[in-house]
Amino acid sequence: MLAKRIIPCLDVKDGRVVKGKQFVQLRDAGDPVELAMFYNHEGADELVFLDISASNEGRNTMVEVVKQVAAKLNIPFTVGGGIRSLENIKTLLRAGADKVSLNSSAVANPELITEGANFFGNQCIVCAIDARLNSETGTYKVYTHGGQKETPLDAVVWAKKAVDLGAGEILLTSMDQDGEKNGFELNLTRKISEAVDVPVIASGGAGKASDFLDAFEEGKADAALAASIFHYKETSVASVKKFLKQKGVAIR
């Protein structure tokens, strides 16, 4: 049976992981490779690296990080952040990333999804969507540039379009829930998961193990991503997976 995936997300700035300071047992908690291997050992099904570097130097450093990670890690990983061109996509995939995630650049230039998918296959192209609820209309709007810019796009409509363009997976982050630790945005996750026929990763809001159960059962997500609760050791990948297994969820 196909397992639900648990995906830790690592924010990388200028080649260093930010927020991993709680890992006292690691020699260097800022080292992306060491942290990746730690999560792999804990049973992570996949990893996402989000490059939050603001400079070109930082971006180039990320390519080196990807190479180092690919040399060690024997599970799949996705790289996102600042990918603007087919050339960027090629560089990262050739460096060993299994998938790239496109966010602002996909909204600005939807053809980039198609170009990437044509070149390496749909399965390599993840469309990352940051969405926020508009309480007046009851709809969810897409935001870009790290949540700074509102777009006129409806999240469900955009998700469907992205899949039509060639995206092989949707990484959906709820900006309302992100950082709140009150659980994932189940309503929107379910809407998108039912609207598209590619896997959907729920992101934003994980606070405890049962939130993951809700994301899979109510949200119909195929995978769930979290950052802080794993980094700050509020829970571990292993204990979340143990809980889900006890609840009868297919877990590796």
Binding site: L2, R5, N74, I75, P76, L93, G121, Q123, V198
Partner: protein, 219 residues
């Protein structure tokens, strides 16, 4: 020495690194002459069947692979596995290498009962061993493996099936005929299990003394 067949499709870096972790020497090449100096081949691949066959033909690799399959071990991974079969309905009906009888079909995305399901089949799925005598899975316990694919193999002969996964029906996950093997999943991305399977393949390669030398009588 392992030869990774590079015909211009897919990400060879992860696979080469997996071999490196197993301390296995390898070359990455699109030249039949160079590949012929190796003891065993790995045919990776991500992308479309038709494009892949086109490139294999263009580089004279399809003839080479067909010839050497009798004497030199070959492992196809993901699309590389699908290429081993007779033909694929991906895009237009395209002939494959014809090393294992069968045809490649797309997941319909809907069951006979009308239930929709997601395509690609992406993520970790459990394997069931069908032929536990196969050298490829010797000493291994069935485990999770990492799959990413939208097409599956429909085997003509059930005796070529080594392991299956279940995704709205039986999905051949490991196949083999003689020295030709294929995995629909990515062993290089399938954690400890995938690494152990690759190790089995490398052991099998090292046990085959007869290395193929094309141009000579036996090829």
């Amino acid at each position: 020495m392992i030869g990774i067949v590079d015909y211009g499709m897919g990400n060879l870096y992860s696979l080469s690194q997996a071999l490196k972790r197993l301390e296995q020497s390898y070359i990455i090449s699109d030249d039949p002459g160079e590949l012929d100096t190796t003891d065993g081949l790995i045919l990776p691949g991500v992308g479309a069947f038709k494009d892949a066959m086109g490139l294999l033909k263009e580089k004279h690799l399809s003839d080479y692979l067909s010839r050497c399959a009798q004497t030199k071990p070959l492992l196809g991974i993901c699309l590389g596995m699908q290429l081993l079969f007779d033909e694929s309905e991906e895009g237009v009906l395209t002939k494959g290498l014809g090393l294992i009888p069968g045809r490649i079909f797309r997941f319909p995305g809907v069951t006979n009962e009308g239930v929709r399901y997601k395509v690609p089949h992406m993520g970790w799925n459990t394997l069931t061993f069908v032929n536990s005598q196969s050298a490829l899975i010797q000493g291994l316990e069935p485990n999770y493996a990492y799959f990413v694919h939208s097409y599956y193999a429909d085997l003509k002969n059930s005796n070529t099936l080594i392991a299956v996964a279940d995704y709205y029906g039986h999905v051949p996950a490991i196949v083999g005929k003689g020295l030709v093997f294929g995995t629909q999943f990515h062993p290089e991305k399938s954690g400890v299990f995938g690494q152990a399977l690759l190790k089995n393949y490398l052991r099998l390669v090292s046990q085959i003394d007869d290395s193929c030398s094309c141009g000579e009588e036996k090829c």
